[in-house]
């Protein structure tokens, strides 16, 4: 019964924060416009009313400062969620993220823990220009000490965000704004989704497609079309990139012997590169053909809609890459 309920991803994320803030008084939320406005996309709507301005805190535009403050709070007994409006502003806080958030636990020999979750909403393809279009996910995957989460459905978003908030390690949690209004089944009963467990969003025997964020939906569309041509594609959604469920990916390749990796980042040193490298090292003997990457073009994102369309991965590009393997 309760599994029938459908809500959208923004609502799912809001529920995750609300439930965790009710459960644990040390959970706080900080960021620009998260309080009075409830977030520029409404994801934190109502939280200020329920939890008050001490725990739901609008910040000045000081990303370096309030991410650092989130870390300082995390190492002294709070369990903060910090929102960085869009990933394009994460570079303003990269120093605190890479040199403190990711490393304090290791560098202090385990004396400090950093139970901080940073949430940020990808707005790639919105037409706001190249500095309002990046995910920067690969930077965080590259940085030892951070966990990295990339949900594609309301169900995953809620379960993973709750896990992120409870995780004692620092977590980078990437939301995708264009998925916020997508609805999907989300149980009313509490649930958590463990990190490091990929989800096979569609089963198949002929081809493995690994994709993240909104590109999981493109991959599913591509798989539908490919099926018409007799190609049964399996769509694997890693859901968390650190830890990465290599096993599920490799097992899929062992079955299908072919792989296309789809990435919402420029290809160079991107997420697809990492997955390709893992497969090329650990499942080489099972491969019947090259490892295909479908990534965004290695260019800044332009504003003109026809150019944006050309630069981003989509169903058609996935199909084209897939067909090259047959």
């Amino acid at each position: 019964m309760s599994t029938q309920r459908e809500i959208n991803m923004a609502e799912a994320l809001n529920e995750a924060m609300r439930e965790e803030m009710r459960r644990d008084p040390t959970v706080i939320l900080m960021g620009e416009d998260v309080g009075v406005l409830g977030g520029v996309y409404g994801v934190s709507k109502g939280l200020l009313d329920e939890f008050g301005p001490e725990r739901v805190r609008d910040t000045p535009i000081s990303e370096d400062g309030f991410v650092g403050a989130g870390i300082g709070a995390a190492i002294t007994g709070l369990n903060p969620i910090v929102e960085i409006m869009y990933p394009d502003f994460l570079p303003c806080a990269m120093n605190q993220i890479t040199n403190h958030m990711a490393k304090l636990r290791y560098m202090t020999g385990g004396q400090l823990t950093v139970p901080l979750t940073i949430r940020s909403a990808i707005i790639q393809g919105r037409g706001s220009g190249a500095d309002h279009a990046q995910t920067l996910i690969p930077w965080f995957v590259q940085t030892p000490g951070l966990k990295v989460v990339v949900p594609s459905t309301p169900y995953d978003a809620k379960g993973l965000l709750k896990t992120a908030i409870r995780d004692k390690a620092p977590v980078m949690f990437f939301e995708t704004a264009k998925l916020y209004l997508n609805k999907g089944p989300v149980p009313e009963d509490e649930y958590l989704i463990p990190f490091g467990k990929a989800d096979i969003k569609r089963e198949g025997t002929d081809l493995t497609i690994v994709a993240i964020c909104n590109l999981v939906l493109e991959a599913l569309e591509a798989a539908k079309e490919l099926e018409k041509e007799g190609i049964k594609a399996e769509v694997v959604d890693p859901r968390t990139l650190v830890p990465l469920d290599k096993e599920t990916i490799i097992n899929s390749v062992k079955k299908t012997n072919r792989i296309v990796v789809v990435d919402n980042n420029p290809s160079a040193c991107g997420v697809a590169a990492e997955i390709a490298a893992i497969v090329a090292e650990e499942a080489f003997d099972y491969l019947d053909g090259p490892i295909m990457r479908v990534a965004t073009l290695q260019i800044p994102e332009p504003v003109a809609p026809p150019l944006i369309k050309l630069m981003l991965p989509n169903k058609e590009k996935i199909i084209t890459a897939a067909k090259k393997l047959f």
Binding site: I61, S62, D131, V303, A304, P306, L310
Partner: protein, 325 residues
């Protein structure tokens, strides 16, 4: 502000300040209309109500002088003399736009009239202005750089580093804070530790002026002091112009989740264009007819830009990978 330091402003100049504000206003109105018609990629930030700041400052600059702007870029772009047609086309993402349809509303640039760049990263334009000023100094061009930013930007680290750099190197920068009291939904009272952002000038050993940003004459006069200082090699100045945006943060934001209707109405009464118009008429510096003519001329200018932008094409695939390096 130090009074009486300057000669009276010529009537011609006073009228041209009116014209420039109307240009900014009507251009922005048109862009809002474009947005409502679904023609604009991304989101749109208008300066309606804040025109006096861009206009009062830019009226002191030569074509060679440079401006850095923000996500709220139209006003500075138009006031600095960028043709409306390439600006409008850019906002629609057309290939005829000033940035060939790659930058859009928040990243306007037209260096040939000194409109250097608009950075949509809050606070990030200031270091660019410092660098441009360093360049001007080393190349001995005698240029002045005006760097516009919001109240929200004054809390970024880049602001601090930039003002310190400009001060120790005595660079010709005029830092112009458009304090419209809000950064999206966050009131300056909740975000900022000082009542007057201009006070922060003390932390960098430079002059600071907190002024009425809706009085174009006060803006003009204050900017003149700052520009002259800069031009003479006496270093940077911080101007805080208090103003207000009539629209929400972006076009379509009702702007009432964090502001009362009364507050908005109260500020609208202080509309800088209405005020300046009244000033000109009361002192018979210009006649009603003259000003109406200006309005009409500007409407025509905007209409031409509209036609140009609408008729222009989007960039084709051959544009996609140009200028990456």
């Amino acid at each position: 502000m130090e009074k009486g330091l300057h000669n009276e402003i010529s009537n011609e100049k006073l009228v041209s300040l009116y014209r420039e504000m109307v240009r900014v206003r009507l251009f922005d109105d048109k862009m809002g209309e474009f947005y409502a018609r679904g023609l604009c990629p991304g989101t749109l930030h208008l300066s309606t109500g804040q025109e006096a700041v861009a206009v009062g400052v830019c009226a002191n600059l030569t074509k060679e002088d440079l401006v850095t702007s923000t996500h709220r870029a139209h006003a500075h772009t138009v006031a600095k003399g960028t043709p409306m047609n390439v600006t409008a086309a850019e906002i629609l993402g057309k290939v005829t736009g000033c940035c060939r349809g790659r930058g859009g509303t928040m990243h306007l640039s037209w260096p040939e009239v000194g409109m250097l760049y608009s950075s949509s990263i809050v606070g990030a334009g200031a270091p660019l202005a410092v660098g441009a000023a360093l360049s001007a100094t080393l190349r001995k061009t005698n240029q002045v750089i005006a760097s516009f930013f919001g109240d929200g930007a004054a809390n970024t680290g880049g602001f601090h580093e930039s003002l310190n750099l400009a001060s120790i190197w005595k660079l010709p920068v005029v830092f112009v804070c458009e304090n419209n009291l809000y950064a999206i939904s966050v009131s300056v009272k909740r975000s900022t530790s000082v009542k007057d952002i201009a006070v922060r000038a003390k932390a960098y050993n430079m002059p600071g002026f907190a002024i009425d940003g809706n009085d174009v004459i006060e803006v003009y006069k204050t900017a003149r002091i700052a520009v002259e200082r800069a031009r003479k090699g006496e270093g940077p100045t911080l101007i805080e112009a208090k103003t207000y945006r009539h629209h929400g943060h972006y076009y379509g934001d009702p702007g009432t989740a964090y502001r009362t209707k009364e507050e908005v109405e109260e500020w609208k009464k202080g509309d800088p264009i209405v005020r300046h118009r009244k000033y000109l008429l009361e002192r018979t510096i210009a006649s009603e007819e003259q000003l109406n003519n200006i309005d009409k001329e500007v409407e025509e200018e905007v209409a031409e830009a509209e036609k140009f932008a609408i008729d222009s094409e989007f960039p084709g695939p051959e544009e996609l990978e140009r200028f990456v390096f």
